[in-house]
């Protein structure tokens, strides 16, 4: 009896030692499995430890890929079993465990399979093969005798199956089942944590990528909005310039018509006055000749009052002639400037246009500004004469107004290749450097509210641009400004086509 007690105690001690060892191993797994978020490390730890400490030589972990399929993600002790194999949910031990979400321990797999296979063969031999389904290969040992398959659950949700197999019957005891269940539960949590972490990392990466993409789009959007804004601003500026030019063209047309009317009305009486003055001059000459006749009393001929009167006549007559000539010239300039009867593109002598303009702005230059006409050889230029005259008025008026007291305006012309070059230089105060970029903007002026609207150079720029020419400005404060206009001798063909729609001719 005492011997039996001792043996019983020894078994209990042995059992206790075994349980203690198992607890240590489980503790080891629990501690290490939670120290990593790497799935491969988790698989290695679970399967390796099960083999090393519990003798589970053949184990496998499958994860639910979708609601119908499990995929092998880790395998231990299986030769020629590549990862990635699949098991349909509901097929075989593993698939049935996944379907029912219940642990299954089978200790006599091979004879059961053999029994089923025998029945199958008998049915095939009996001609009942059509009643049979397909044999589905499942991962694991093909000659396994024992198997424990445990569903990997997170709360009520299946994430996979953990399976251990043996080639021996009844390998797995209740204790093995309990151990495997604990390890499976630990593995399920660790796998889920790692997958969630990986998912979070992927989402974070995707979010970062999306953020970068969005940022890039925003940057592009800003660029596009900026570009569009610039385009709109440019369009707006062009519209404004066009509007200004239309208004100015209208004004010029009215002025031209007015000037032509005035010229016509004045031309006849001035012609009469000029003609009469000439007749008068010749009549006085006749009287003077008559007085020289010896028959005429010398006493009367030498009368001082008579001589004084003749002198007055001569002076008045000369002034009258000069004045009427001046008026006639102005009228001619007005008619030339307005060009009411010549609204089409034509060959124009630019020097004539410059001269006419100088005549018209004579009141601005008279007695204080010397005008130097440094004209070179310049063929006629194909252009809208009235518009080019408007350019000359603006340039010469600006030059005259830039000279506060006395100074010089030098007009230089020459041909440069296919272009006519007209340079207007003044000795005025010059333009500040910060204003140089803006002088062609509509509304920009330094002359003050009552002097100008700031449209002259803007219109000038637009007219020259329409003629496919260019205008350049150089200026030095205190020394003066040079504006250089380059006009093509013959505008390009495209311009000729366009000008029907974009150019508003005077008149």
């Amino acid at each position: 009896m005492a011997t039996q007690d001792i043996q019983s105690n020894e078994r209990l001690v042995e059992k206790l030692a075994q349980k203690t060892a198992e607890v240590h191993v489980l503790k080891h797994i629990a501690l290490n499995i939670n120290s990593t978020l790497d799935l491969d490390q988790i698989y290695d730890l679970v399967l390796g430890t099960m083999d090393e400490f519990f003798g589970f030589r053949h184990s496998i972990i499958l994860l639910l890929e979708d609601s119908d399929t499990l995929r092998v993600v880790a395998s231990h002790g299986h030769e020629n079993q590549p990862l990635g194999g699949t098991v349909p949910v509901g097929t075989g031990v593993i698939g049935t465990v996944a379907k029912r979400r219940r642990l299954m321990r089978v200790n006599n797999l091979r004879p059961q399979r053999a029994y089923f296979s025998t029945i199958r063969r008998q049915m095939e031999e009996a001609g009942r093969a059509s009643e049979l389904g397909k044999i589905v290969p499942v991962p694991g040992l093909p000659d396994a005798e024992s198997q424990i398959a445990i569903p990997l659950m997170i709360k009520d949700r299946l994430i996979g199956v953990f399976s251990v197999e043996s080639r021996e019957q009844r390998t797995f005891s209740d204790d093995d089942e309990a151990l495997a269940t604990i390890v499976a539960n630990l593995a399920a949590s660790a796998i889920q944590n790692a997958r969630l972490y990986r998912l979070v990392e992927e989402r974070r990466s995707e979010l970062a990528e999306a953020h970068d993409h969005l940022k890039q789009l925003n940057e592009t959007l800003e660029d596009r909005v900026s570009a569009r804004t610039r385009e709109l601003e440019q369009t707006n500026r062009e519209l404004r310039e066009t509007q200004v030019q239309l208004v100015q063209s209208g004004k010029m047309a009215s002025l031209g018509m007015l000037a032509a009317g005035i010229a016509h009305e004045i031309n006849t009486p001035i012609g009469a006055i000029h003609s009469n003055a000439d007749v008068e001059r010749r009549a006085i000459g006749v009287i003077r000749d008559v007085l020289q006749d010896p028959a005429f009393p010398e006493k009367l001929r030498d009368q001082p009052r008579l001589k004084h009167t003749f002198k007055i006549f001569d002076d008045i007559n000369r002034v009258t002639l000069e004045a009427t000539e001046r008026v006639i010239k102005v009228i001619q300039s007005l008619k030339s400037f307005a060009r009411l009867d010549e609204p089409e593109l034509e060959l124009v002598n630019l020097h004539e246009g410059l001269d006419s303009t100088l005549t018209l702005i004579n009141h601005l230059t008279k007695d204080r500004i010397e005008v130097v006409r440094n004209y070179g050889e310049l063929p006629k230029v194909q252009c809208y004469a009235s518009q080019i005259n408007q350019v000359f008025v603006n340039l010469l008026t600006n030059a005259a107004q830039a000279i506060k007291e006395t100074g010089t305006i030098t007009i230089t012309t020459h041909q440069d290749g296919a272009c006519a070059v007209i340079e207007v230089a003044d000795t005025g105060g010059g333009i500040k450097p910060e204003h140089l970029d803006r002088i062609f903007d509509p509304g920009f002026t330094t002359k003050g509210v009552s002097v100008g609207l700031g449209l002259g150079l803007s219109i000038t720029y637009r007219i020259i641009e329409n003629h496919r020419g260019s205008i350049d400005v150089r200026s030095e404060l205190g020394k003066g400004t040079i504006l250089t206009v380059r006009l093509p001798m013959a505008p390009p063909r495209s311009y000729l086509a366009e000008d029907q729609t974009v150019t508003v001719p005077l008149g």
Binding site: R102, A114, R120, L132
Partner: protein, 156 residues
């Protein structure tokens, strides 16, 4: 006499995968022998047989609840003879689920899902059992428990 209890060493015999022999008898005394793939251990006093096909065995035990189950114990070089009595059938619950699950697991992998389908888990109470050794010296086994047949014969 107290209820007979199955020893633990019969569990691996039930799980060894060797088909067992079940003998039943109709109400009019015609015996029937059949082979089944597995006998399930329910508890110390009960076993379960799978009811998959409506065959003579099922018909017999519904008429006459007495049955005899012979288990082959190759490791023990013996045969276990169980004298059992049909008690009831279960179509749900843990015993049914476990049996159904095993059948489904094997049948689904062998393309036999349409053939093997558990209709019910038939629960039998163990009236007596005996382990009969294959060795010539001990062909006569020791009977444990009370067999109805014996009583009937003794009283008859």
């Amino acid at each position: 006499m107290g209820a007979v209890e199955l020893p633990d060493q019969i569990k691996p015999v039930m799980q060894n995968g060797i088909p067992a022999i079940v003998v039943t008898c109709s109400a009019d005394g015609i015996p029937n022998t059949t082979i089944i793939s597995q006998v399930y251990y329910v508890d110390k006093t009960h076993i379960a047989l799978s009811f998959q096909f409506f065959n003579k065995t099922i018909r017999n035990v519904r008429e006459n609840p007495q049955a005899c189950v012979a288990l082959n114990d190759l490791e023990g070089n013996a045969k276990w003879i169980l004298d059992v009595q049909y008690d009831h059938s279960e179509t749900e619950g843990p015993i049914f689920d476990e049996m159904d699950m095993q059948i489904e697991a094997i049948a689904s992998a062998t393309g036999m899902s349409g053939i093997f389908r558990l209709r019910a888990a038939d629960i039998y109470r163990v009236r007596s059992f005996k382990k009969v050794s294959f060795s010539p010296a001990s062909l006569q086994g020791v009977t444990h428990g009370d067999t109805g047949y014996t009583k009937q014969r003794a009283s008859g």
